[in-house]
Amino acid sequence: MGLVAAMLALVSGPAGSQGAAGTAAPSGDPRRSGFADMSAPIQAMQRDDSQNPGLLWVADGEAAWRARPAAGDARSCEGCHGAAGAALRGVAVRYPAWDARLRRPVTLQQRINDCRERHQSLPPLGGESDALLGLESFVAHQSRGLPIAPPDDARLAPWREQGAALFAQRIGQLNLSCAQCHDERAGLRLGGSIIPQGHPTGYPIYRLEWQGLGSLQRRLRNCTVGVRAEPYGAGTAEAVQLELHLAWRARGMTLETPAIRP
């Protein structure tokens, strides 16, 4: 327990240093994207499309969007949904959304896989596969610059509340909740890194630590393992509930996909 105490002491500095004064959004919104806390070279990497390696996945996703499945007479994604641009703009900012057929909320990844199985008769893609990340980042990239707009759907409310409860629930051997770091101690430091507020504004993100693109689910697993708790399985109700809460928490913030994070 000595280690835990030392770590908590490390992250709970003077309350006055929270949120690094003067860096909040000009509108007075205290929420800030992790982008604002990155060093200038990494910010430049995200701003400049010729440097952003996330665009490599977006390009793969675009090719997959256009490609017709080899087997059967199934259509390509484009065949039903149309070309990129207008048809896809504003889609990603609504997820997770209610699925009337499954009668539960689904994430963008789940929607893509569900569509593949039902309409293209293709096997679902693996959770962290480059193919799925490519399609997801391509779809999300079409909404870059739009505000995150979780649907105001009453059926989502109980799930969202569950997500909020999970966010505040202490977990793991370190006995920490998401909220203790990302609400109460955001802006302070954990080791050398600034604790972000944890808004999912740029997923899938290219994380320098990962040397590749990763989903929000992967990031959540990272954090969960970090507090030495057992991560929620991919696509489980808890994982979707957390995503719903995070989207609601970040409503109105700008989507940056594909974002770069250290």
């Binding site: 010729s50 490599l56 390009a59 320098l208 590749g212």
Partner: protein, 106 residues
């Protein structure tokens, strides 16, 4: 085939210094990391990058295991005549990729 993103101005003035940016998707596996089962992953990196105009070498670089995945290289050049820039990445396991971009000198 790896994905590449090349940023080259379509046209430049004769003698003007301009920037060329080349990004390629590659794992750049160092050869020092273990996989999930503890076995060492074999090295798989890009060894050499070169940019040529015709027979003339414009820029080249040797790459090493410490260079990150999806290597991004930016360099400056001066063009004296219109032509085609050929970008080549070569590496382990017979990796070789070539992309070309036309450039107009006015």
């Amino acid at each position: 085939m790896a994905r590449t993103r090349l940023t080259v101005p379509k046209s430049v003035r004769r003698g003007e210094i301009f920037e060329i940016r080349a990004l390629i998707g590659h794992p750049m596996e160092t050869g020092y990391r273990p996989d999930a089962s503890g076995r060492r992953l074999p090295r798989d990196i890009i060894r050499r990058f070169s940019c040529r105009q015709g027979d003339r070498l414009v820029f080249s670089a040797d790459l090493f295991p410490a260079i990150s995945a999806n290597p991004y290289l930016a360099f400056h050049a001066v063009a004296t005549e219109s032509g085609t820039l050929t970008f080549t990445w070569e590496g382990d396991n017979g990796f070789s990729q070539t992309e070309t971009v036309a450039i107009q000198v006015t």
